[in-house]
Symmetry: C3
Amino acid sequence: MTYTVKEIAEALGAQALGASSIRISGVAEPSDAAEDHLALAMKPEYAEALPKGRARAALVWDGADWQALGLEAAIIAPRPRFAMSGLTALMDRGEGWGEGVHPSAIISDSAILSEGVSVGPLTVIGAGARIGKDTRIGPQATIGADAEIGEACLVREGVRIAARVRIGDRVVLNPGCAIGGDGFSFVTPDLSNVEAARATLGDQADTETQSYVRIHSLGSVRIGDDVEIGANTAIDRGTIRDTVVGNRTKIDNLCMIGHNVVIGNDTLLCGMVGIAGSTRIGSNVVLGGQVGVSDNIFVGDRVIAGGGTKIFTKTPAGRVILGNPAVKMETQMNINRNLRRLGRLFDDVAALKKSVSNTDQSD
Amino acid sequence: MTYTVKEIAEALGAQALGASSIRISGVAEPSDAAEDHLALAMKPEYAEALPKGRARAALVWDGADWQALGLEAAIIAPRPRFAMSGLTALMDRGEGWGEGVHPSAIISDSAILSEGVSVGPLTVIGAGARIGKDTRIGPQATIGADAEIGEACLVREGVRIAARVRIGDRVVLNPGCAIGGDGFSFVTPDLSNVEAARATLGDQADTETQSYVRIHSLGSVRIGDDVEIGANTAIDRGTIRDTVVGNRTKIDNLCMIGHNVVIGNDTLLCGMVGIAGSTRIGSNVVLGGQVGVSDNIFVGDRVIAGGGTKIFTKTPAGRVILGNPAVKMETQMNINRNLRRLGRLFDDVAALKKSVSNTDQSD
Amino acid sequence: MTYTVKEIAEALGAQALGASSIRISGVAEPSDAAEDHLALAMKPEYAEALPKGRARAALVWDGADWQALGLEAAIIAPRPRFAMSGLTALMDRGEGWGEGVHPSAIISDSAILSEGVSVGPLTVIGAGARIGKDTRIGPQATIGADAEIGEACLVREGVRIAARVRIGDRVVLNPGCAIGGDGFSFVTPDLSNVEAARATLGDQADTETQSYVRIHSLGSVRIGDDVEIGANTAIDRGTIRDTVVGNRTKIDNLCMIGHNVVIGNDTLLCGMVGIAGSTRIGSNVVLGGQVGVSDNIFVGDRVIAGGGTKIFTKTPAGRVILGNPAVKMETQMNINRNLRRLGRLFDDVAALKKSVSNTDQSD
């Protein structure tokens, strides 16, 4: 599949300049570009590498002197990074799974597949499951009993969707993600040593030990529209009500969303974020890689947490936080600076003690 | 499946009060409850929401004035959270996989399936594997050659159990967990730069580089009775002996248990905990979310580690720890408080220096 | 399969002493060894347990008085840990998958399988995929369209290899790893609140909120020779160019390699390491368990990072680092020591203030 520079610009709502009938078969970084590639020269520093490649056309920044860069054609986008969305969607070659329902898929007679659904080889779709229009399901996925998946979703290879999970429209589920595992919820016959430790913060040398019994998860998982969930991420069922992920929220690889968690809309969870049970995360939140959030707390709207932040307490809306334990980013920056010069402070205090002691003795 | 309030109370060993013949089809939080739901009003603050729902019966705390709450029937449990275990087990609707062995499963002729075993579609069971009575295996799971699984286990969709792994009775394995990956064990022909760095703690600018070769894992994994393992968790084979998980130990999602690790009984590992190779974890230990434990150390019985704790050294029994690196929780709380007021300490010392310098000059 | 002590020693390039015709069926730790086991007594402290087992032969350290240890035969290796590599390779019983292509595998007509390839039950191999000589693929794996796998690889159960991924020779892929998920790359129509926060580090209470749209991943993943990838690890596609893992690099379980990341040769990533998008990691690097690396930075050759280190900034070659944020290991050790005695420093300064105040008053 190839497109002219003009067709690409139109698809992006951008401006085509120069020889806009040049046919493009792919996109490339400037130094790797072949003659039929659109080079991505969205900043002057990227454009410097254009002579190393053979691109005749490029996506350039607003105001670029594209002819001086040796190009025959250019696409100008006011926010080129945003244009990348449309451009990459256009050029995506897909997974090559083919159309229709593969004969090796095991689909319950009571499952309902809407028009345009494709199902890969060796996928299992359980009793009562419903799959919306134009949803593509890859090979070896599992769709549990009575699960519902919306329209135009992409369910990649080996995805696990448990019984009764509900998923919105245009959701992307990456390989191996598991939606609907058992919540991690156990209870001891009497007050446990964790409950005691939370009360006292003290050591537990003398507590009697007990065994845990399982609280089954009766709730399920509900995922909104336009959500993306990363490879091998795990989202657990709620205990009584559902675990919920809001619309347009994006969750990266290897994240863990505990039972009863509720996440708002337009939130980003980067790789390896963990949210413990019953915590609520607001909308437009961004949690960096390896962030952890304790159970049963609330993280407000528009909170931004840097990578590795551990959030133990309620966080007000709009706060930008960092560190373990999480504090305001500015505070953490000060702490880090102070830690680096702490050795000198010890030296200063030692000198002061000596000096004051001398002063005292000289009195 | 419905139960009367009386039947539920009997199953829980609890007390039924009022119109105990009301039929219950599910459980719900008070505000979400329909007429045939048992509301979970185990604390006064939960009970406040009862008027928002339509529950006629509820699970309430000992001493609750259930009639004043507008209920027609109540179940009273001395420790309601413990009652949740029996209640949710009773109400669990299960995975809807159906009974028996699905004809699409690929089961070796030499595998032995005991009475009451069910096997989901497209599951593979290898040569010499043995599956105990009443164990339910979901779709698309793998049971390796000569693996043994006990009685009444639940093996969810896409679980991977490698060759020779042994699993006890009543074990729950969540979707995508992988038991029996290769241990991460490599060796260089000569002393490696890591071994050198451990000896010197110094920088490695001049070390000669080497390539690693693999030490194969000849051991397997042995898992006790009543264990639960979370979604996409990975437990590696031992190098020579087995990696071991004790009885009644519960492991959450996305945990990593390295080769040769031995974990005791009744231990809880919350989400994303990582235990490096050859480390031993005691019994009745609780490791919070994202805790990490170094290789070749020992964490004693009844240790409790808060979320995000990084344990680098041997930890005595009963200790309650927090932080990176782990210290006693109380110590970490003091450190955190001191860090927040560290800026003022720098100011104080600067002022003191000035003051003492003036004093000195005034002498 | 059994070997004589002599055969084993020859395979290891080591020296056999004593009754070297003793037949060995396995290896064991000294206390667990049966009569036909080779005991691993590579250090004097291991050898102490020999009397508890029944080994007649052992792998011992250079200079060991093996006859005094009660052995009839011994293998002496100058670096016994290195000998473990050859020894365990020899004794590996494998996965028991059988030979050839299982009839239940779904293999595209246009896929090319070289000589000696074996494919497990219910594995899917897509159109145009190419599998090199003697590569063994386990049950229920997915090989995407146009993917290439080299020679003598081991692809374990449930591995997901996406379309167009290229993998070298002798690569080991552990259960459930996912190579070729979608990169976590999203963009807002206007400058996002994260971009603003990175610029200001300030709170975001007043920012207008926006929704994210997806940038598709057009690149793929390229993995070198002799790489090992752990169970349930996820490696994402690049946006335009490929994500790259160099030769002989070993990646443990549950690691996350973001889009566009480039990792050098002979690097070790321990369990749960996360590398954010577009970051470059050098060669001969070692990142301990749960290390995190920010996006768009560079970690130089031979860097060693202790467990739990969070790397936010460019790290020069050869540096040994620790902590959150990462600093030189020696610096972190000093910081940790200073933190533990910080309480006393506060006390000292309070005493000094009092003393100086008294001095001032006495003037």
